[in-house]
């Protein structure tokens, strides 16, 4: 029970202050990596279209 409480406290401490549309760090990291994949795709299309 105590361990569970500690984990809860730690989670709250770490995720406090996140932007409201991101509920966890995992989601934020996923969003960042998704943006990277999207940028690479867009750059690839940019290369192909304007070559």
């Amino acid at each position: 029970m105590n361990k569970q409480l500690n984990n809860e406290e730690e989670r709250e401490l770490r995720e406090f202050g996140l932007p409201s549309f991101m509920r966890s760090w995992k989601k934020l990291y996923g969003f960042v990596l998704g943006e990277l994949a999207l940028l690479i795709l867009l750059f690839y299309l940019f290369t192909v279209i304007f070559q």
Binding site: W25, V32, L36, L39, I40, F43, Y44, F50, Q51
Partner: protein
């Protein structure tokens, strides 16, 4: 330069420096001086991390690189967001838990003192030299184009940075970087829109993009597996990942920026800000270079961008040959301009066949122009075998000085100085901290007072400032300035990163194995660098992999 330009330049720099010194005066203890009293918000950290990485070289050399070879350089940054996510998830919590001042303190807690000192020493060696290049690189270009005295330009940048970095420490560095980054972005956006406005009437932004694409400047993503190519998707994702992991995760000049956050969330969000914006920003700077390239398709560029090189040829026995080449280049330019007009017309009104024909004409003339430029460079080499013929670093500043309006020239020079000062201050701050915490406080004097360490930190920061100026005076022009800094980083970073990755992820490996492996790996990287043509980004992966593999082999034979 006009009075208005001087006012804008000196006013911008002066205001930022004076505000930084005034706002952060009177640090009371070492935590306040080295960690900014752990009070930074995520926005300040984000901009500070970005400003430390973006040196003046970024804004001088990168547009020139796009002008010369297109936008493939952006792939170098593809590994960066992945690296920042790893650092945010794994490195930052540990740095916070151990309450470290420097990244290398962690190595002693995990391994032993000598591994900590090896990590700190490798950092001081490469970052100390890089700080010199950070000052020298813009100084040589500014002094050459604006006819300023090189030594005074180096001293101006160096002394200004020393004043506020020594005076206010980390807080002053972060605060000034925030405003310097604001000036940089304002200046680059202004330059971008003004370049487009200077295109001929019949060339809009989209026509410019189409023409540059047809002329091979928009090949952003290269999927080939050729390991000798400097920039491919794969080298960017792997080599770039290792470089960014090492730079942001283990280089004190960056670690110091984000561990000064008011809490772990501020530090992490500051890094995520960079993970999301760095690639678009780099893409934008390269696009500015491509737009300069298009501008010079309709306005005659010099056959060689370094005025000094042109003068050298004009005053030599090769003057006549040069004069003929220059005339041929002018003729080539006129031909190309006419063909580009046809090309632009065909793109809007012509058939597919007409477009292709016009495109082939333009490409052929472009190649002819490139070969004339190569002949001029070869002539310069014949005149002086030692002469550096790469002139792409001079493209953007030459353009600014000749075609930007009064006031904007001052603003864009403020961009270059701000970038030079922001990255140098971050470096000096980190060099001073590492020398104080990892060497002086740990080895020389362990029981000093807060006041004593505060004074020592300031003295050592000033010492590294003076060393950076000395290195800048000693620096020789490299093939490409931004690449020189990256090459220097790649040669050392792999080893440092290897040590840190073992510390984080391979708990069974101990101090002896990692220390010997790090020395062997660094020697191996030096040998490969001297004897092979491997693209430099790969040294990050090679050095890092070598430390890990050697450690795995050695660990069973060593006790500790």
């Amino acid at each position: 330069m006009s009075t208005l330009d001087w006012t804008v330049l000196l006013g911008t720099l002066g205001c930022i420096v004076i505000y930084g010194v005034w706002k952060t005066r009177g640090s009371k203890n070492i935590q306040e001086y080295l960690l900014g009293d752990k009070s930074m918000s995520w926005g300040t950290i984000g901009l500070s991390v970005m400003a430390t990485q973006a040196s003046a070289i970024t804004f001088l050399s990168t547009p020139g690189q796009a002008y010369e070879s297109g936008m493939a350089f952006v792939q170098n940054y593809f590994g960066l967001p992945i690296a920042l996510v790893i650092i945010s998830a794994v490195f930052i919590p540990l740095y916070y838990r151990l309450k470290v001042y420097t990244a290398y303190e962690f190595l002693e807690k995990r391994f032993d003192l000598r591994t900590r000192l090896l990590g700190a020493f490798l950092f001081l060696l490469q970052r100390g030299l890089a700080a010199g290049i950070t000052i020298y690189a813009p100084a040589i270009i500014l002094s050459s184009i604006l006819h300023w005295n090189l030594d005074y330009t180096i001293l101006f940048v160096g002394i200004l940075v020393i004043i506020y970095t020594v005076s206010g420490g980390t807080k002053a560095v972060s605060l000034t970087q925030k405003y310097q980054m604001g000036v940089i972005m304002l200046g680059m956006f202004t330059a971008f829109f003004l370049i487009i406005q200077r295109f001929p009437e019949y060339i809009g932004f989209m026509e410019a993009v189409k023409i540059s694409g047809k002329m091979g400047k928009l090949e952003v993503v290269d999927l080939s597996f050729d390991y000798t190519k400097r920039y491919t998707l794969w080298s960017g994702l792997t080599g770039g990942l290792f470089l960014a992991l090492s730079y942001f995760g283990t280089d004190q000049s960056q670690v110091q920026r984000y561990i000064s956050g008011k809490n772990i969330t501020a530090s992490r969000l500051g890094l995520m800000f960079n993970a999301m914006l760095k690639i678009p920003m780099q893409f934008f700077i390269l696009l500015v270079g491509v737009m300069v390239f298009i501008f010079y398709q309709f306005e005659k560029p010099p056959v060689f961008f370094k005025e000094q090189g042109v003068t050298l040829l004009q005053n030599s026995e090769y003057a006549e040959q040069f004069s003929k080449l220059d005339a041929a280049y002018s003729e080539n330019f006129q031909n190309k301009k006419e063909q580009l007009e046809n090309f632009a017309y065909a793109m809007n009104n012509g058939s597919e066949e007409e477009i292709q024909r016009a495109e082939q004409h333009v490409k052929a003339i472009q190649q002819e122009g490139d070969s004339i430029r190569s002949e001029v460079k070869a002539l310069l080499k014949t005149r002086d075998i030692e002469y550096e013929t790469k002139d792409s670093d001079y493209v953007f500043l030459t353009f600014i000085m000749k075609y930007m309006p009064e006031g904007i020239i001052g603003l864009l020079l403020a961009v270059i100085f701000s970038a030079a000062m922001s990255s140098t201050s971050g470096e000096l701050n980190a060099l001073g901290s590492t020398t104080t915490v990892d060497f002086y406080k740990r080895i020389v004097r362990q029981n000093g007072s807060e006041q004593h360490y505060l004074v020592m930190s300031k003295m050592l920061t000033a010492f590294w400032g003076v060393m950076a100026i000395v290195f800048a005076f000693l620096a020789k022009l490299a093939e490409n300035l931004i690449e020189m800094v990256n090459i220097l980083g790649s040669v050392f970073y792999g080893t440092i990163l290897g040590i840190f990755l073992i510390a984080f992820f391979m708990r069974f490996i101990r101090g002896n194995a990692v220390f010997i492996s790090a020395i062997l790996a660094q020697m191996m990287v030096f040998i490969l660098f001297a004897t092979t043509d491997i693209g430099y980004l790969w040294y990050n992966a090679i050095g890092c992999g070598a430390v890990m593999i050697f450690s795995l082999i050695l660990q069973p034979f060593l006790r500790k």
